[in-house]
Symmetry: C2
Subunit: 109 residues, 2 copies
DNA sequence: TAAATATGTCGGATTTTCCCGACGCGTTCC
DNA sequence: GGAACGCGTCGGGAAAATCCGACATATTTA
């Protein structure tokens, strides 16, 4: 058994968790909370080169966290929070046990 | 300017988000939900070499998600869900429907 | 005390991530 | 049409992550 990635995903894929692992990408998502923004507007607050921002956006698009709409010569990015439910669901399972424990200990909650 | 990480954290540090980015580590946390387990017991379900498991555990310990207690010649790992509140809080800001569960866990929020 | 067990750590190979400058393509403005 | 703008992608390099086999350390058992 020498292979590392048995098969399946085309090796370049990452999931929502991995997408959130990068601070710049989290910042992008935060910035998009209150409305769509262009790529350059997003890059403005990031201290990163434009290509870097573009690649972060590509990854976020790949996992479905953002979507882009062409508008004139710019591109409007808007948030799609649905993939975050996977993280929420995971956290929910992780914490369910503990929240239940807390409730057992203190029913006043 | 060739340096990438201007300074700060000792270069090997990662945050809770990064800790969750790895599927094996998420599996470990899931496995620890219902009670402490030894390192080898954790490795049993992971299809990884023992050193790999040990290093994942070291990282999880580094970000505070697990703690280890020596018991005889083995080491019992147990979950510490508190760092997950950071993820929960972040998700809470991003979404609207997540608060309560995290609050149960850490009323100090 | 010696062997066996449980786990951490080291050395090193491979892969992935992250970033940048340069270039290409479509759109708008003069 | 030609220059300027906005954005994606390519090529590539530095750093980090991931993994393993081998070795080190502590503890229990024979």
């Amino acid at each position: 058994m020498t292979q590392r990635r048995t098969d399946g995903e085309s090796a370049g894929t990452r999931d929502v968790f991995a997408a959130l692992a990068n601070p710049a990408r989290r910042q992008v998502l935060m910035a998009l909370r209150e409305g769509p923004l262009t790529a350059s507007a997003l890059g403005a607050g990031l201290a990163l080169s434009r290509p870097a921002v573009s690649e972060h956006l590509a990854l976020l698009r790949a996992v479905g966290l953002v979507q882009a709409k062409k508008r004139g010569r710019e591109r409007l990015y808007h948030l799609d929070p649905r993939p975050l439910t996977e993280v929420g669901a995971w956290l929910n399972v992780m914490l369910a046990y503990w929240t239940q424990r807390v409730r057992d200990l203190d029913p006043a909650l």
